[in-house]
């Protein structure tokens, strides 16, 4: 564990990613203390520019505090990101494992299904689902999860396919271990690293998706979200461009942090291979 953590932090993106994400996390957790009360509340004069006294990011056309919106919006984005990722990773891992381990007909069926889901324009489907079921936290999380699992499934399937023929798996079968046991105790621990990398990148995508859905007006109306703020600021873009710019910057920083972490995780988990042509 220790050498891994050291390698992870040695990569510059690792350090940067952890720091940035940590900052966002703190903001999200501390939103209640930093900006108590309802972020929707109108607290000041409308259209104050950023860096006005007391209002770091200014206020919007209805006098709402942008900074409060950003802080509370962090909660929503991270929450949706995490839950949707968990759904997608779980679904993808289960399906990918089944396909990769059993092969044959099971593999064929699951892969056809995965291909179909992956081919369909995902974002449009998500919009459809959220629109038809009504915009809410649940429908958004569900929709994002439903369109995101195929890439995890493909990844896990590839890993399982290669592990399945390894000798130590055969040895486990010869020991009388059940399939379930082999999957969980033998194979899965060896495939965790690519899944973790995929999960971090998936969370980044989930946050981008959620913000796009909210931007288009399909966000949960009870919760303030960065995407919604960008959309709301659009009408007065020319005069008060910061209303859209600042929440967007928040999304950008968070997603960048997650991408950095995913990249660093990847490098830490796959140290540069010893090239062929070495000794002997």
């Amino acid at each position: 564990m220790k050498p891994f953590a050291a390698r992870f932090l040695a990569v510059p993106t690792g350090m940067a990613g952890v720091t940035l994400l940590g900052a966002v996390l703190l903001l999200a957790l501390g939103a209640g203390w930093l900006y108590p009360g309802d972020p929707w509340a109108m607290v000041a004069d409308p259209n104050l520019p950023p860096l006005s006294p007391g209002y770091l990011f200014g206020t919007d056309m209805l006098g709402r505090d942008i900074a409060a919106g950003v802080a509370h919006g962090a909660r929503v984005s991270l929450l949706i990101g995490v839950i949707a990722t968990v759904i997608a990773v779980l679904a993808g891992t289960v399906l990918g494992a089944l396909a990769g381990y059993h092969g044959g007909l099971t593999d064929d069926l699951i892969m056809r299904f995965t291909e179909i889901v992956q081919t369909i324009p995902g974002f449009l489907l998500a919009l459809l689902m959220v629109a038809i079921f009504g915009p809410s936290l649940y429908s958004i999380v569900f929709a994002i999860g439903v369109i995101s699992w195929p890439s995890v499934a493909r990844l896990v399937r590839a890993e399982f396919l290669s592990m399945r023929t390894r000798d130590f798996v055969k040895a486990a079968r010869l020991g009388g271990q059940s399939d379930l046991r082999i999957v969980f105790r033998q194979i899965l621990p060896n495939t965790l690293s690519p899944i973790v990398v995929a999960a971090s990148l998936m969370m980044a995508t989930a946050i981008l998706l959620e913000s796009a859905i909210s931007f288009l007006g399909l966000g949960d109306r009870r919760l303030i979200s960065w995407g919604f703020m960008i959309g709301a600021g659009r009408t007065t873009l020319l005069q008060t461009w910061w209303l859209s710019a600042i929440p967007g910057a928040a999304i950008f920083v968070t997603v960048l942090a997650l991408n950095f972490m995913g990249d660093a995780l990847n490098q830490a988990l796959n140290p540069r291979r010893r090239p062929t042509g070495g000794h002997a």
Partner: protein, 325 residues
């Protein structure tokens, strides 16, 4: 002969996907809370009882489900999407009117992203570990993290408002009655910002994928053999590494086709580009689910067609596919 069989198999797969899309559409309407007829009528049409009744009859909503499904299948197969209450004309007409604009936008963005993305990815792989690689990788991480619509809005502020170089909305200048190549130039002028906005995200994606694929291929034995033969580096990159790295890239690109269409919804909304993405946004706003479903269906068909072409391209590029069947 084998190629024909291969193509036939792919067509069958494509049809299967479209069938699934139709099934999804069908299921969604039925699964939504409320009366399917009202949902299909949309917010505007729901108030007109006569319209709702016509819908009920047209879609056979009183019939048993299997009958409904077959009827729906037939309708969509002929691109019959019903009538728009608001505009009082067939939805099919509306969609096919706006489709070319979306095609123009997405294809331009696509070509831009593939050419630049693959080029940068190969450049990064070739100089892996140097500052060039680090810069390209960092830049791609940055563009990968930017929400499309946010970038679009900022681009408008910068290039249209502050600098005044490019128009900020629409596909052509309103009121200016241009003809011939001047009209085309005008469209191009309007196309630049939206296409680049849409494309930049995918430049980042393709750069990463190409770089990873090229690095993977670089380590393979046959590259060593090529060096041992005395083949110059440039030729190694073009004939050995690129040709093999392109295979996984083609696969990846074809999988991404659906994404670009989703992205076009956002970009068309931001730039008021008159395509079906914009149409989808309007449909959302107006709660016109019928229109939304139609856009979804047409987009899926386009993606499927695109995948077919990509598959064909792949089979030409990789001799193992065609001849191994």
């Amino acid at each position: 002969m084998e190629r024909l069989l291969f193509f036939a198999r792919r067509c069958l797969k494509a049809l299967l996907v479209i069938l699934c899309v139709i099934a999804i559409n069908f299921a969604l309407i039925r699964a939504a809370p409320g009366d399917p007829a009202t949902i299909l009528a949309g917010e505007a049409g729901a108030v007109d009882a006569g319209f709702v009744e016509r819908i009920r009859k047209d879609y056979g909503l009183d019939q048993p489900l299997p009958v409904q499904f077959v009827a729906y299948l037939q309708q969509l197969a002929t691109f019959n999407f019903g009538t728009s209450y608001r505009e009082n004309r067939p939805v099919q007409e509306i969609i096919f009117e706006k489709l070319p604009a979306t095609l123009l936008l997405t294809l331009s963005a696509f070509v831009f992203s593939v050419v630049v993305g693959v080029g940068l990815g190969m450049a990064a792989a070739r100089r892996a570990g140097t500052w060039v690689d680090a810069t390209i990788t960092a830049a791609s991480l940055v563009f990968f993290a930017m929400p499309l619509f946010w970038f679009g809005l900022l681009a408008i502020v910068l290039f249209s408002v502050k600098l005044g170089w490019l128009p900020s909305y629409g596909m052509s200048t309103v009121g200016a009655d241009l003809k011939g190549w001047q009209a085309w130039l005008d469209v191009g002028h309007h196309l630049l910002l939206p296409a680049v906005t849409l494309g930049l995200f995918y430049v980042a994606v393709y750069t990463r994928v190409t770089r990873a694929a090229a690095i993977e291929v670089m380590d393979q034995d046959f590259v060593k053999t090529a060096r041992a033969k005395g083949v110059p580096e440039r030729r190694i990159w073009r004939h050995h590494i690129l040709r093999n790295a392109l295979l996984p890239v083609i696969t990846f690109v074809s999988l991404q086709a659906g994404h670009i269409l989703g992205g076009s919804v956002l970009v068309e909304t931001v730039f008021a580009w008159p395509g079906i993405g914009r149409l989808a946004f309007d449909a959302l706003f107006q709660r016109d689910y019928n229109l939304l479903l139609a856009v979804f269906f047409v987009s899926s068909v386009m993606v499927v067609l695109f995948n077919l072409v990509a598959d064909l391209l792949y089979s030409i590029a990789d001799p193992r596919i065609e001849l191994q069947t």
